[in-house]
Amino acid sequence: MSNPKSPLSTPEQELAQRTRRGFLGLGVGAAAAVGGWQWLWSQPQMGGVPMPLRRVLDANARLTQGALFGDQHLAPEFPPERIQQIRANGDFGLEAPLDPESWRLAVTPYRGAAPAQLTLADLKKLNKLDYTAEFKCIEGWSSIVRWGGVRFRDFVSMYAPGAERAAFVSLETPDKEYFVGVDMASMLHPQTMLCFEKNGQPLELAHGAPLRLVIPVKYGIKNIKRIGAITFSDQPPLDYWAEEGYDYYAGL
């Protein structure tokens, strides 16, 4: 090794030294990158992904909900002629036969108010909401659909007053096979609805009859079909796909 303080005699020698140093630096950088990558995947899992990735998903969600964007933007609406065929994708929680006559929506209001069992007729007493928007699946496809139902916001005022103070809403299928947790701000969004009509017709079973959630500010995974129970809470409720490595917020 030459003494770095002594002047190098030729440009060739200096280049050789700088090349050694340069590639050593590149090698150290590459080793650090590989080490960082291995560290990432060695971290404890949290909801199906390594903890640091979960933290970043949550931080991205806070950024979206916070000052940067706000969370009351409306999903664009479309003219009815742009309605598209929508595929029936998820069937978790839809396996048991459904008897529309005996179906009830079990509502557990916030902080100990009396629980209620609602029929579809109870919900239809609220003002009808009807719009055409783009439904977006987390897989990457999307379809323009006309939905009909009642605003979740109106539902809370009528059947669970005060529950808007809760931080989260939990929604489950009657058999509890599928369940989602959604932040209250997104649930109170003016386009979030308890839906019983698709393209002007009663919902089909495969699309969530008798009652589903339509929440255009979230990916399809949060748009739970065949709702059996609604609960309000301050802690994030269990969420089917968030346990499988997906973003809990899943917001658009």
Binding site: P11, E12, E14, L15, R18, T19, R21, G22, F23, G25, L26, G29, A30, A33, G48, V49, P52, L53, R54, V56, L57, N60, T64, F69, G70, H73, L74, A75, P76, E134, K136, C137, I138, E139, G140, W141, S142, P216, V217, W241, E244, G245, Y246, D247, G251, L252
Partner: protein, 228 residues
């Protein structure tokens, strides 16, 4: 005998952002493929030639299937690194004045064609050039615009309600997704040509991207055209 001297070729800021971008972009493309797999609807149909993105063999060989959640989690971390590093490069290039060597000039688009013909052996003379030839000016500027395009189209499909104005401006959600994908194909095309040119330009050129310096003849008039 011709004496030689070391000449500064690539600045520290440029080399640093270049080598950081390499693995970061790789991870973005890889995680992007994990996401794309879940709805892999794009194909090119040019008469008799049809290519589906991507054949099952590619997913299987590189273990890209059934990993959507992982792909999203990685993509939405590395997007920050990609954006930050790109921003650092642009800021550095602007502040240092190096943008003057890089942005296309009036004749660059026409000259770039001549450079291409020269590189393909179809033309004997290169048009006059500075540190970077016309084809490099066009390509290295286009790739930065593409990077910005990936960020913009990416945001449009990441938060299509929050930035509905942007998503609509790009032609809607499904178009924005296709544009995001097409830009990635552009990077792959860039990568292939870039590597071929680096191999062609030889060791001295490659090592200068690592060390920053290259050995040049003291007689400057014999300077060889730079390709990388």
């Amino acid at each position: 005998m011709v004496t030689k001297r070391l000449e500064q070729k690539h600045s520290f800021g440029k080399r640093w952002t270049h080598w950081v971008n390499f693995p970061v972009l790789f991870v973005m493309i890889w995680s992007g493929m994990l996401i794309y797999w879940a709805n892999d609807v794009y194909e090119v149909n040019a008469g008799p030639v049809a290519f589906h993105f991507f054949p099952d063999a590619i997913y299987r060989t590189f273990n890209l299937d059934h990993r959507l959640s992982e792909g999203m989690a990685v993509h939405f971390l590395f997007m920050w690194l990609f954006a930050f590093n790109g921003l650092m490069y642009v800021l550095y290039t602007v502040i240092s004045g190096e943008w003057r060597d890089l942005v296309p000039q009036k004749n660059s688009f026409r000259d770039a064609l001549e450079v291409m013909l020269y590189d393909l052996g179809l033309r004997k003379q290169l048009p006059p050039q500075g540190k970077y030839n016309a084809a490099q000016r066009v390509t290295y500027s286009a790739i930065i615009v593409m990077g910005l395009g990936s960020l913009v189209t990416g945001l449009a499909i990441y938060r299509p309600i929050q930035v509905a104005w942007l998503t609509e401006g790009l032609g809607g959600y499904t178009w924005a997704r296709l544009e995001h994908f097409a830009l990635t194909l552009g990077y792959l095309g860039f990568f292939v040509i870039h590597i071929a040119q680096v191999v062609r330009a030889g060791w001295g050129n490659f090592q200068s991207m690592v060390t920053g310096v290259e050995l040049v003849d003291n007689k400057l008039e014999a300077k060889e055209p730079v390709h990388e």
